[in-house]
Amino acid sequence: MNSHIKGYWIPVLHTHLPFVKHPEYDYFLEESWLFEAISESYIPLIMNMRKMEDEGIDFKLTISISPPLLEMFSDEHLMGKYLKYLDKLVELSSKEIDRLRNNPEFQPIARFYKKRFEDVRSFFINILNGNVLNGYCYFRDRGNIEVITCCATHGLLPLLNQNMRAVEAQVSIAVDSYEKHMGARPKGMWLPECAYFHGLDTILKQYGINFFFLDTHGVMNGKPAPRYGVYAPVYTENGVAVFGRDPVSSKQVWSAEEGYPGDFHYRDFYRDVGFDLDIEYIKPYISPDGARAFTGIKYYKVTGKEVHKKPYDPIEAFNQTRVHAEHFCLERKKQMGALGAYMERPPVVLSPYDAELFGHWWFEGPDFLYHVFHEIEKLKGIKAISPSEYLDIYPRNQVISPCPTSWGNNGYYDTWLNGENDWIYRHLHQMAETLENLANTHYHETDSIHTRVLNQLARELLLAQSSDWAFLITTKTAREYAERRTREHIANFHALLKDLLSNSIDPDFLQHVEDKDSLFPELDFRVYASRHQA
């Protein structure tokens, strides 16, 4: 242990999007969620890691990558569409440079975008070799990031635990997917929405998960009360470590009112040329039916509360990330000093964020992180660390029973279970029960088409369980799509089930859903069996 260390900082970026793949369409609006996240968050973050590597800056991040993302990163169809998406952006930015040739205020911003899109495209093709995962693996192998997993399809486990096989399948399939893509077993797991229930740690332990994260109150309301609050991890009764979110550092970034992303110098997310420019001009770059959509080209800064926005200045914004990084680190140092005075070891501060906050929502977020690591290097005394490294140094921790909670609004499950979306759970529970029974009775199934149907039933259940659908229904954003997806997977499940039970399988339909809902190609339905366990 280094005696100069005043405290440890664990920054965690949770990286997740639901599985969205529509091979039947040339353009599908919701597929752009992935493309925007890759271009605006994942690649800029990896590019900044590379910059820090070149500059000799030591950095340490923990990144959870959900299995649907792992699958989508490796999906040839989606990555082919992603390249076309990038080509379109380069084309649009070129047209913008021409359109703004007599506008000295805005044309430099158009040039900035063109260069940026070309850089992202080149980085994706030449450095990442067409798969974002290569970037994560590279920095994992260098020891800069700890990559952990998340549940198979981001199912909210406390709402699925009517059927424990469904919960266990979410965990075991995630571990298998991680091993397939990352070549090792994960040590940690990001619980979807940080949602926990009593007894979940037994399953996590069974699959070799050493740690997970909870929101502040999940630890603080544990029994007995944790002596060091969230500033040291605790163990569950089964010896799985739990790190609790530090509310102070979270608020500095997340807060809509006080958080850094709302600074007036930063780019305004909502003013996008997809909405601002003449429809005939912008039509080739938005939805083919003319429905306006974000393009990623945004010319204005937040400016303030006034309607009249000022032009965005990328250099000014970049410099502001340095100011905010200095403030963030200074606050951590003060916080760690205050806490450390009362603790027998340096405190650890956990700061978990959605990865898409950095770059997608907060355009300058990756530069903020870049400057934070620069600042840590300068300040000394603060050390960024991964959970596994921390637990190696401090294996002795208090045992508590964490409180079932989530990190969503109000701290529990309201966002995913309310009058708008509660209809989902009756189906999810029934499907899980049905699949468990089928897995038991067909455990020794040898017929290949029956096996394919059973495996596809498991995929349809997993896709229906994605917490994203219930979330989007509640927030009324992409609600129609979220409802449709939920209904589609439930309907596919029952159509396949009917075919299986009547022994009249429609091979065309089976092939169609296998191609479309194609995640986890190696999935074995027997993961749902409750008998025949070794």
Binding site: G239, W254, D289, Y342, M343, G411, L417, D468
Partner: protein
């Protein structure tokens, strides 16, 4: 949104593209009652009771004229906590209850005379509350590789404990007060 079809989809023609296909079942004709926690003071209950079950019960216990009802009780103490009448074989209900660590069971049945006659029970759901006082007994564990052993707690003095407590109050009161809005992990914007 204009959708350009690029592949022939015979399967889709009779399934996914047909909106009628997405009309999912309202119920499953399976007897079910489930209770799930929503938050510290709300639980969600859904149920389905089949005609077959009611017919069977009519032969022995249930005349058909009694009102069906659901009672929710604490599994350990068997104390009744909440009850309501049920008018439909398939339904849902939200119940308010601010307890602490009770294991709640929902039981659907009917009242005959003074007695509640159970038809179907849920598995228990555990609710949690901010209200419960924590115990003082601390257990500490040392974990090296996969081996865990119980070890003595650190010997921090009372001043340290008080100092930490006041810092926690400063950090948590500020942030917990505003957590319902501004520091939620999942931002309510369109990208999930």
């Amino acid at each position: 949104m204009e959708k350009k079809k690029t592949v022939k989809r015979t399967a889709e023609d009779h399934t996914i593209a047909n909106p009628a296909f997405r009309r999912i079942l309202h119920g499953y004709n399976e007897d079910t009652i489930v209770i799930m926690p929503v938050n510290g003071d709300t639980n969600f209950i859904y149920w389905e009771i089949t005609e077959e079950l009611l017919k069977r019960k009519r032969k022995t216990q249930y005349s058909g004229s009694e009102k069906l009802m659901i009672i929710v009780f604490d599994e350990d103490s068997e104390r009744e906590i909440y009850s309501f009448e049920v008018n439909n074989r398939i339904g849902k209900h939200y119940m308010k209850f601010c307890g602490s660590q009770e294991r709640l069971v929902a039981d659907i049945g009917f009242v005959r005379g003074e007695t509640f006659v159970s038809i179907l029970k849920s598995t228990p759901a555990t609710v949690s509350s901010f209200a419960e006082e924590a115990g003082n007994h601390e257990v500490w564990m040392q974990k090296v590789k996969n081996s865990c052993e119980i070890v003595p707690a650190p010997t921090d003095n009372i001043i340290a404990k008080n100092g930490l407590q006041s810092l926690f109050e400063e950090y948590y009161s500020d942030c917990m007060a505003s957590r319902s809005g501004s520091i939620s992990g999942s931002m309510s914007l369109s990208l999930p």
